[in-house]
Symmetry: C2
Subunit: 210 residues, 2 copies
DNA sequence: TGTACATCAGTGAACGCGCGTTCACTGATGTAC
DNA sequence: TGTACATCAGTGAACGCGCGTTCACTGATGTAC
């Protein structure tokens, strides 16, 4: 398929590795991350299960790459859709980042869960690197807001962590149905959440570093 | 054991239902919630697997009760350890609630995960009720802080949800190792998080309800 | 230009595993007479 | 006070399941000569 010959012989797939990763992501759009199995993946790709092991040492390793791809595409979304730094107040930019974070998670819940549920980050350098790059992006955005507000720069990390925690917690609670628990239904809507991203910045501004 | 006879005949257990729930909680202190199996539970209780089905219609139903017990003991912790309302500024009380929430989660991570991961809350009234009671407690505490700060009362729910999201997200990120990702290690410490619980209140104070 | 051969991406069958659940049963309990 | 019997909490073996992984293999590719 990727070769110039355009052969129809199916014995050698040509690009099985990428096909499997794409199939996994496609499958996560339809079912929970816990339900994803190698056998089903191979079936989708039209290949025997054993073929998977030509390209990945284990299921866990494959999933780590899928998770890493998730982090990468979150960063890509930000890079594409966020206005460049300096073109608007840094705090507002941080709020937008939060909004898009939530959009991302809700658009692909199972993929999102995998990104955060996959154990042993340290064991898979690809995943570790992708997650770090993602956090760095958050840190820079939050950091700019903290600096612009005149707060102690040592709070930058804390603000980034708090923002991430807020977004992650909101998404996870929403996905597990734990936020729509009271009868009223008058809950925190996704649109309202970004407003809370001003919090890590604003509330810290007058605070000394204790 | 619970009967007055104190019999040593083991055929009729006497209190198997409670024993199984307790065994499940004990087991969650040692291993992940995903690894918990009925067979192991029965083994621990010294009983055949089939006996479990005398007391619970399915594994899911048993786990729902375990999760519900978690919510109940979180509320119990608050009721025991939080100073009574009015004895200190409401915002500060909300911060303490957050701190104890995090303590609770970090003290029993697997049990905590089960409380939030167990699917289909609506399918298990026991769990639903316990979770609702827990959220009500948060809502009251946050609400008092919102009112005391003079903010629009319609923000009470939002503040409670934001606080819960912040705590839940922080705990989940910490447990999955996603917060200690940057090399510096100069992260948001558990002790610092409560400070962020002032955020939902403070930052909203001047805001109109858009 | 044609052939031998190393390389390696695939196949298909089998492995062992632990799981949740069901079944026909057995043993202890307590109540009716 | 003793016996028959209904009740029901337990047993132990078996069911079928889908899983991740391994194995000896086969078929296609491309390079050396």
């Amino acid at each position: 398929m990727t070769t110039a010959t355009g052969n129809t012989s199916t014995y050698h797939h040509g690009n099985l590795r990428d096909t499997l990763l794409a199939a996994a992501i496609a499958q996560l759009a339809q079912q929970s991350d816990a339900a994803l199995s190698l056998r089903e993946l191979a079936r989708t790709a039209g290949v025997s299960v054993a073929a998977v092991y030509r390209h990945f040492p284990s299921k866990e390793a494959l999933l780590a790459e899928v998770a890493a791809a998730g982090f990468a595409s979150l960063v890509a979304k930000w890079e594409t859709e966020l206005p460049p730094p300096g073109s608007l107040p840094a705090e507002q930019r941080f709020q937008l980042l939060g909004q898009q974070y939530i959009e991302f998670a809700l658009a692909a819940p199972a993929h999102y869960r995998l990104m955060f549920e996959h154990q042993d980050v340290r064991q898979f350098p690809v995943l570790q690197a992708a997650a770090q790059a993602c956090f760095q992006y958050v840190l820079q955005t939050a950091g700019a807001a903290v600096r612009e507000a005149g707060a102690d720069p040592r709070w930058e990390r804390a603000a980034a962590s708090a923002g991430w925690s807020l977004g992650h917690g909101y998404v996870m609670l929403l996905l597990s149905g734990r936020l729509a628990m009271t009868d009223g239904g008058d809950e925190l809507s996704p649109a309202m959440v970004p407003r809370f991203f001003q919090l890590p910045v604003e509330a810290l501004t007058p605070a000394p570093l204790s």
